[in-house]
């Protein structure tokens, strides 16, 4: 068989072609692999790591291993036994010497406000390991909080290895001392509002882009090619201009000494400058401007393909222009409207820079909270959980977009 293959003569052509094709497929895969490996390292693994961080509960098991082990037996009713108190005292003393007590204190403080003080002051006041049998009294003597069941359920609930705490917190839920899922306390329950705000701004910007983009796309699609290419510059130039440049320009235009307020005051329309920036209006203005080309381009490409014969046929059959437009033209633009709206919405809900620069405190979207918890307060668990929720929403929408866009082959030669 091998000899026949080397000679090549006896092997049927069909099989040889198959072999050649298989070799070609391997070579093709070999060309794709470097990029896949690269993206695995710079993109896929980091994202997976972020999602893992939203459930990873490492602080308490690492800093207080003896307490965690001692609480394994505890059923959560009443106070744990003397051994658990002794383990806690030992853990606190070790962690204080290693300088890691603050790490566990920070984690436990998420569950009970004030836990940090309890733990750190206990660490300060606990000069030596209490004599056997006196750990409970000593600790309660230092901080009465150790005599409360909640202090112990908090440690137990944070004993890892995974926690639902951050993911629940990202949707304003928490667990009470008995482990049941309940609404988070009002001062922490802000993220649902932030998500609603993010989606509201996303919807608003999408609607504005559609209203503003539709006539432009229609005009460009129905002009002679030369003139529409010329006008296309007005869409593409802003599209290619740096995001920071455009955001900066909107501040210059809209601020209280800016161009709009200056002109209106000069014309005598207003006496006091209007507040046009660092509020929701500024966010809508700047974001619509940034995202408008993403609406115009897919709409334009769909409208360009609609034959004018349909409208003429409708008119010749006696349809009034409005009817012809609503019942003949508009339905044919639905794929473009769908693709444009999804694209703008996906991009809008992930926006960070523009709201951060032109919005007020009440206009910050979910991205800015993710950034805040990553760099400012270093609550990586919550940052990751909020990121995971945003990522999930985006991927679901992107999947829908993929179905729409690939159906229309807008991604070039990527679909066979």
């Amino acid at each position: 068989m091998t000899a026949a293959f080397v000679a090549g003569a006896d092997v049927p052509l069909k099989r040889r072609l198959k072999r050649a094709e298989r070799a070609r497929q391997f070579r093709a895969l070999g060309l794709v692999l470097p990029l896949l490996a690269f993206l695995l390292f710079t993109f896929v693994v980091p994202l997976a790591g972020m999602i893992w961080k939203s459930a990873d509960d490492w602080e308490v098991p690492q800093v207080m291993p003896q307490t965690v082990a001692a609480l394994k037996q505890w059923n959560g009713q009443g106070l744990p036994d003397e051994a658990a108190f002794a383990a806690l005292a030992a853990d606190i003393r070790t962690a204080r010497e290693a300088g890691t007590l603050a790490v566990a204190a920070k984690r436990l403080n998420y569950i009970i406000n004030g836990y940090r003080t309890t733990l750190l002051s206990t660490g300060r006041k606990l000069k030596e390991q209490p004599a056997p049998g006196t750990a409970k009294d000593t600790l309660i003597g230092i901080a009465p909080a150790w005599g409360e069941r909640e202090s112990w359920t908090a440690i137990k609930s944070a004993s890892g290895p995974v926690t639902s705490y951050y993911l629940l917190a990202a949707v304003d839920l928490t667990r009470n001392a008995d482990g049941a899922i309940v609404a988070a306390p009002p001062d922490q329950a802000i993220y649902r509002d932030v998500f609603i705000r993010t989606f509201t701004i996303g919807f608003g910007v999408t609607a504005l882009c559609l209203i503003l983009g539709f006539p432009v796309a229609y005009l460009l699609a129905n002009l002679p090619t030369g003139r529409s290419n010329l006008l296309m510059i007005f869409v593409l130039l802003p599209f290619w201009t740096s995001l920071l440049v455009r955001t900066c320009a909107w501040i210059v235009i809209l601020q209280s000494e800016g161009i709009v307020n200056g002109s209106l005051q000069w014309l005598g329309v207003i006496d006091e400058p209007l507040r046009l920036i660092y509020n929701r209006f500024g966010v809508y203005m700047a974001m619509t401007h940034v995202l408008l080309p993403f609406m115009i381009l897919p709409l334009y490409s769909v409208m360009r393909g609609i034959s004018p014969a349909y409208m003429r046929a409708a008119a010749s059959l006696g349809a009034p222009p409005t009817t012809a437009f609503l019942r003949i033209y508009l339905p044919q633009t639905i794929p473009g409207i769908g693709a444009g709206c999804l694209l703008v919405f996906i991009l809008a809900i992930g926006y960070y820079i523009t709201p951060a620069l032109v919005g007020g405190a009440a206009d910050q979207m979910i991205s800015s909270f993710i950034a805040f918890y990553t760099t400012e307060t270093v609550n990586w668990g919550l940052a990751s959980a909020l990121g995971a929720v945003l990522l999930l929403s985006t991927l679901v929408l992107a999947l829908v977009y993929g179905k729409l866009a690939l159906g229309r082959q807008t991604t070039g030669g990527l679909k066979n």
């Binding site: 006539p215 740096s242 320009a249 909107w250 222009p321 620069l357 030669g413 990527l414």
Partner: protein, 276 residues
Amino acid sequence: MSANHSPQTASQRIAWVTTVVAATLVFIFLMAPILAIVPLSFSSSTYLTYPLPGLSLRWYEDFLGSARWMNALKNSVIIGVASSMLSMALGTLASLGLAQWKSKWKPLVLAVVLSPMVVPVVITAVGVYFFFAPLGLTGNYLGLILVHTALATPFVVITVSATLQSFDMTLARAAASLGAPPLLTFRKVILPLILPGLASGALFAFATSFDEVVTVLFLAGPEQRTLPREMFSGIRENISPTITAVAVVLTVISVCMLSTLELLRRRNERLKGNAE
């Protein structure tokens, strides 16, 4: 084409005029920021208001003479060039492979390859920050180049794949049948023909990196601050007229890139026209 909108009735004429007026207003809206900021950069005043009290180039001198801005420009160019070259190499190879590869896994691979374009940059930045920090890839060029490459590659893959789709594969087969090994075929036949597409892809990649600020916010140390990063802090603090000068310089760079792209597109269409 012009005949299909020529209005026949009064109501059609009104509809067309309304469209033109509406579209014109939107064009003004689209161009307003650029039109507003260019004259201000030539103002002699420190206030960003009209009418301009006088013309001067002092803000451009300020920009060119500032070590901080020049360092930012240098960083932007270094990171932009390095990441566009890297994403070109990876993206072109992958596009060549994807054009021939047939498998039920292809949609999944495509989804992974294109996903950096879809996932909100802040999420990518946070994930990469967590992952790179323990590896010592924050606060240096390498980390930024790697993440910008990941963000730019989807644009390269889309552009190059579109070019390959219009490439006539019989030419490659003809070269092969005349005895050319695959690499020679690529160098002498395929590459010259898809070069405009590659150049567009490289421009897209460079533009992506050149305009990116979110990952820079997370990963860059004080030494790696890029132009958008310096603009971000400048806008946060107080917009000085120097920023408007930087903005105009960046806009000029955008115009150059856009014109190059347009030229490449036309050349490509001409080539396609000749082939048919």
